[in-house]
Amino acid sequence: MDAIVVKNLTKYYDGFLAVDHISFSVKWGELFGFLGPNGAGKTTTVRMLCGLTRISEGDAYVAGYSPLRELKLVKKVIGLVPDVSNLYPELTCWENLLFTGEMYGIKKEELVNRAYELLKLFDLMDKKDSKFKQLSKGQKRKLTMAAALVHKPKILFLDEPTIGLDVRSRRAVWSMIRELNENGLTIFLTTHNIHEAFNLCERIMVINKGKVIAAGNPTELKRRFSGSEVLEVSFTGEISIEEISQIPGVIKASRSGGSFKLVVSDPISVIEELVGKARSRRISLNYMYLRGADAEEVFLKIIGEEHA
């Protein structure tokens, strides 16, 4: 059986449908990305798989166990890094790791070795005796990850692992995630950041308003959704946006400043048409720029809210 199997998983919060009959599976050893905008239902899904939120309908298997019926077995083999770094502020890094290990019943000697190993791995050795509340945001994030790994889980859930981190810390966390995955850990990562998903994950599932709307590897997704390109043009004289919108091949047109931003499916014919229109009015094009859709536009397109 796959590492995670989800069938028709559904969550209602007092009648509000937050996760709507989603099904998917994650293979062992995979780095799986769960991508969606704020409020899509990512955290709710992760929490249902970890037993922190009740499942309303459907079922799931995590490492072969059902969070509905065998929650204790699920808990033993998963690690969760929640979207907030929620370790105990008054305990030191060391005490936090040790307490976590104790709760999993790890023997003292093994636990001490493991805690040292993790502090080294996450580059926090010099913070060993600092209280959690004294750490920077990035260090807190790292220690929260370390704590989720104390008991050597088989599956790691990362809910927005780099939220609120600067570029440098974000990269450090990314390379850590890659390293963990290369060493065989199955990782389920949620993010609203498309760069994170495209950079890091082998396979991505996109969720919006509780529904799965696309899935595939990053290249597939890019290819599937970036069939369009973006054309920016401006003219030396007046031409209406309505007229431009009617040109065949223009999917969407908008005005920004003195120029037009067009999402086009067939750039060459659109450009010819634009040049023709300009000529007939005795004006000319004074600026033109053509580019492929970038990751963010792909994302907005996938979730059906494209703004070219």
Partner: protein, 242 residues
Amino acid sequence: MLDEIRGAFYIAKKDLKEYYFKPPTISWGIAFPLVFALAFLLRGWGKDWLAPGLLTLSLFFGSTSMSAASIVFERRMESFERLLLFPISYLGVAFGKALSSFFFGLLSSTATVAIIWLFLSIPPHNMMLLMLCIVGSALQFSSMGILLSFAVKDPAQAMTIFNSIRFPMIFLSNIIIPVSKLPHYLTWISFAIPLTYSVEAVRYALIGSYDIVPPQISIPVTFISFFAFLYLAEIMIKRTIP
């Protein structure tokens, strides 16, 4: 089973490390009952009446303050859920949370017994029985504290709600005002409050006589209500899961 108990002890150890010296624990748990009892002593209440009350108060506040502070705080910081991720039952979590308060209650009551002995010159009537009463009461109050902190929906208001429950209890449970002096309809409430049984048990063990409940009833009640509260606390924890 053994795993569960071990887990509960680790939770208690962690809580003690974290909250021992926090201001709410110290002020509500130790300083407050002393000041409170002193005020009544100065107003001329008999020390034989007040000594058991003082001990029960220090048990009551000592065993409920830390749990309230820790649960309220952890729920606000969203770190309470860490406990729910460990392979331990909700009952085990409730027990662990109760244990840290229990230890704190033991500590503050030991100090109070010493004070009563030295300054009020009341040596315990039956030391073994007193120890049993202290353990029973501390268990009872600590699990009651857990239950109350979960009954509150909004963690931000927990302390206020908590005290608005704790204070009326003090006046209705034969600690300060003898139940015999209360209006008749209030005496029924007194018998429904667990505090009444603790103070009666403590009274008997400390000075050798009881007022309204004999020790054969009051002592078992403290232990039974401990289990009842713990079980209810488990249900409350389950209810916090969205």
